[in-house]
Symmetry: C2
Subunit: 207 residues, 2 copies
């Protein structure tokens, strides 16, 4: 599994001649890093006298951030698996009409799945960004730059995942699915951009 590789080996594997892992797995990793930083700020707030009045909120935020982090970490491998499934479908035989039909069907299914993984990255990163908004305002203010970096990584996760959704949508025939997905991509990008601007200006003010 990719997440069992060392950071060193993961980066080298990414750079290598093999097309997977690629940008889709990096999007999921960026989201996991952003969620992990939100969890870190919770951990650096809990147990501090100065922040006793937000302890309950930080415990809840930590639980949610840690859960999202684990899900995003799983999507690092899921995205590469989904990409490889598309490649396998393209590699199916196409000598007879029957084979051509089976291949076309498999390509459509695998490509649809390859849009769903980055859509999940987008949804989870958006949810994590809401948690980052909480820790930036009420978490340990000594960690304010970490909250800022969390927001940056989560926005990147969404934008990177959006590119991976769009490139796969181009190959799909199910126009209703394509339109619904395009709308959701735009809606999450808009929401995340608003959240990030608000968090970033709060962080910049406190630096």
């Amino acid at each position: 599994m990719l997440i069992e590789l060392s950071v060193n080996d993961f980066c080298n594997e990414l750079a290598s001649q093999s097309p997977a892992p690629g940008g889709g797995s990096v999007a999921a990793l960026s989201g996991a890093l952003g969620a992990a930083l939100a969890a870190m700020v919770c951990n650096l707030t809990i147990g501090k006298k100065k922040y006793a009045d937000v302890e309950g909120e930080m415990m809840e935020t930590l639980t949610s951030a840690a859960d999202i982090q684990q899900k995003l970490m799983q999507l690092i491998d899921a995205d590469t698996d989904a990409f490889n499934a598309v490649m396998s479908a393209f590699g199916m035989p196409k000598d007879t009409e029957e084979q051509k039909a089976a291949r076309a069907h498999a390509i459509q299914n695998a490509t649809k799945r390859a849009t769903e993984t980055p859509m999940d990255v987008m949804r989870l990163s958006r949810d994590a960004m809401q948690l980052t908004g909480v820790v930036a305002v009420r978490g340990n203010q000594n960690s304010i730059s970490d909250a800022g970096v969390s927001a940056i990584m989560l926005r990147s996760a969404c934008e990177a995942a959006a590119l991976n959704v769009r490139i796969n949508l181009g190959g799909l025939n199910d126009t209703a699915f394509v339109q619904t997905t395009r709308n959701e991509v735009q809606s999450i990008l808009d929401e995340v951009s608003d959240l990030e601007s608000r968090i970033r200006s709060d962080v910049e003010r406190k630096l």
Copy 2:
């Protein structure tokens, strides 16, 4: 070393109660991922008949991207080391006037070093973004979304590193150094923002 941890353990260590690694190491990792994706697009271009006319340029770009990637990977640990050195300086004894002066001096030195690591992340990520500009335009167009993700991760690396420079500048007395550094931060952020917009609009058009 942090880069010897698995991706899984690195994310969990990031989320933990210990303040390091934090946003500074994530900035360096984001840059390494962006440079690695630029290198990947070179690797997926070299040797392809269709791209024979840019083979030489892609070989040179690959060498540069791989070099920057390795340097950014080293900065993942260097940033955490620099942060820990600041913490150690703050932990020095301050009972006598002599101790107070030695501690203040050590804090200034360690904090200055803690601005230099993220400055290097910014400079290297800016250099990598120029390479991403090359691969987005003339590299393998099947990997266009990877070039886009590369640009996203490199912009994030710069923005995240900038937060870490700024939070450390706040603690420095050397006003000339502070002003020069603030100017360089703003100049790199502007340059990177321009480069990223150009690459992103090129990628969006081709998706």
